[in-house]
Amino acid sequence: MKILSYAVAAGLAVASLTTTASAADITGAGATFPFPIYAKWAEAYYKETGNRMNYQSIGSSGGVRQIRAKTVDFGATDAPLKGEDLQKDGLVQFPAVMGGVVAVYNVQGVGSGQLKLTGEVLADIFNGKISKWNDARIAQANPGVTLPSASITPVYRSDGSGTTSVFTTYLSQVSEGWKTGPGAGSSVQWPVGQGGKGNEGVAALVKQVPNSIGYVEYAYAKQSSIPFAQLQNKSGKFVSPEAKTFQAAAANADWKSAPGFGISLTNQPGDEAWPITAPTFILVPKAPEKPEQVAEALKFFDWSFRNGDQMTMDLDYVPLPGPLKDQVRATWTSEIKDASGQPVFKQ
């Protein structure tokens, strides 16, 4: 008995020693949109390697602020930084995962996927220019669907968010009136409608308010089973939001066209492309003061790129295409160097 307990104690001591030795805890902060998948990856990563990744979902601009102040090992943002900002702050940016934003609605007798909207109609609904559900422009795209003559209540995110940024970027691309009016941003001046806080606030309002329409992240709409609309993409086809159409949006993208992969995936060409798709980004310093920490962070993302795709899809996000992952790894090797000029990331 005694020997056994000694053995257990010794085992525990060894275990605790090894964990302390190998535990390289990394911290990240930023975007709320990818938080569920980062948390999932972190959990699996911890189980396999014993290394912790602690992510605080404080919002994209918080993430940018924190990585600028170097209080975290990596920052996360939904809206990509511009090339000049990356240059100025000495940061490297790469995408980690993609997701979609969908239009959800509550119209009596119109089930999920039955409503079809063009980008311009969607913009004009949120602009207040189309105010009734039986407006001729909505009816035109929806032959055979009975729409009520009720007023439309648009519902938007009241808190500043990457979701709003992606949604309004899309509206600006498809509608001149939106571009010159409210414009694109993480919070804009909405001419009509009501604001809900967070995805859950928007979803709750849409569920409660008859004849309302809102926008939420795809994963959220799917999990809370709110009807979502088909949207017309750049090729003129109506598509439903699903993994296939998100991937189609990423397939044709020219990731190298913007510094730091900072392209927008909204309104991409392709018959199957979902028009409101967006990547979310990670920021790490180019010449890190603590190269070993950044190396650990990159190891985490490398591990997640290799092992995390199923988890990503389980949570209704979209994994990056394989070639893009290779491009991202190549960027790590070529751009992130320690003081002696050696690449921080080693495959």
């Binding site: 601009s61 918080g62 940018v64 209540t153 604001g195 806080k197 409660q208």
Partner: protein, 324 residues
């Protein structure tokens, strides 16, 4: 007399050793308590200073227009606080209009009319209301109260008043969603009731029972006792209690953010969505950068000023009532 002074002398002579240590201890104690009091003051001044410093760029950029403008456009970096100020004041006012009579009713019932066996359960329930976290009020307000409120109040009332002058505007819901200025006011009322009610109850309890008994003795009814004896006696302190509730209503953040509708628009109807200073800050602080952050800080300053003004007003009111 002589004995007493002698005794005094004796004790004085008896404990010189203890005495000598006392002044320094006294000094220490005085300093410690002074320090505690000063610490609060310093923290408060620090907060005000930081808010003013943070908000200054916004005040400098927009001047007085920051208060009077109702534009809040993040993309164009144009900020004005008017909608949020109006929203803050109107939700707090609605909360008082609903909450104060209810609270006083509760306090009077508990102290004057309540059978003893019921006193404890009712009083405990009221105090428990104060212990409910505000986020719970917010979630309950949004998921439970708002749909009921839309179906059983907003829609019927809107149907009745539609087209009428004045009430047809104030009580007409263009989109009966259940959230809005009035909903926020009602939730706030529930939140401030425990504060006002329990203080008012304590005050009423402290009124000497001889006053009440003499009033009953000369044949007053319960109503007359409450109206003519108790309320005038408790008046000033009750105003204090109300102001405490008002302070909470003005600054409440989470619950209001959930149910106020978060629209930056002025509307004539209390069923329409609006926003308050605190809800605006809660919504946008996470993602705010640059001038937007300054504008939010400036909003914080204004909330500080409004709350401060309310407190000063309450003090003045109390002072005037006391003199009268």
């Amino acid at each position: 007399m002589v004995a007493l002074s002698q005794e005094h002398l004796v004790t004085g002579a008896d404990v010189p050793a203890r005495r000598s240590s006392q002044p320094s201890f006294d000094q220490l104690f005085r300093l410690a308590s002074l320090g505690s009091a000063l610490l609060v003051l310093i923290v408060l001044l620090g907060i005000i200073g930081a808010m003013i410093y943070g908000g200054l760029p916004a005040f400098r950029e927009f001047g007085l227009g920051f208060i009077t403008s109702s534009v809040w456009n993040v993309n164009e970096d144009q900020y004005g606080a008017w909608v949020a100020i109006v929203g803050t004041l109107s939700t707090a006012l609605i909360a008082l209009v609903i909450g104060v009579p209810l609270s006083l009713g509760i306090a009077i019932f508990l102290t004057q009319l309540c059978p003893p066996w019921l006193k404890r359960p009712v009083a405990t329930t009221i105090e428990l209301l104060a212990a409910v976290p505000s986020i719970i009020y917010g979630m309950w307000g949004l998921f439970v109260f708002a749909p009921l409120f839309a179906n059983y109040v907003q829609i019927p009332v809107s149907n009745i008043v539609e087209g009428m002058p004045i009430v047809g505007t104030i009580l007409y819901a263009r989109t009966p969603s259940g959230v809005g200025i009035l909903t926020a006011g009602i939730i706030l009322a529930i939140m401030i009731i425990p504060f006002i009610a329990s203080i008012a109850r304590d005050i009423l309890d402290q009124i000497p029972s001889v006053l009440r008994e003499s009033a009953y003795g000369i044949g007053c009814t319960t109503w007359e006792v409450v109206r003519n004896v108790l309320l005038p006696q408790a008046g000033v302190s009750i105003i204090g209690a109300i102001m405490l509730g008002l302070g909470r209503a003005l600054g409440e953040t989470m619950a209001v953010t959930f149910v106020v509708g978060n629209a930056n628009r002025l509307s004539g109807s209390i069923f329409d969505p609006g926003s308050t200073i605190a809800s605006r800050i809660a919504n946008e602080f996470n993602e705010a950068i640059g001038l937007q952050l300054n504008a939010l800080m400036a909003l914080g300053c204004i909330l500080f000023l409004v709350t401060f003004a309310v407190l000063v007003l309450a003090r003045l009111l109390v002072a005037r009532v006391k003199v009268g």
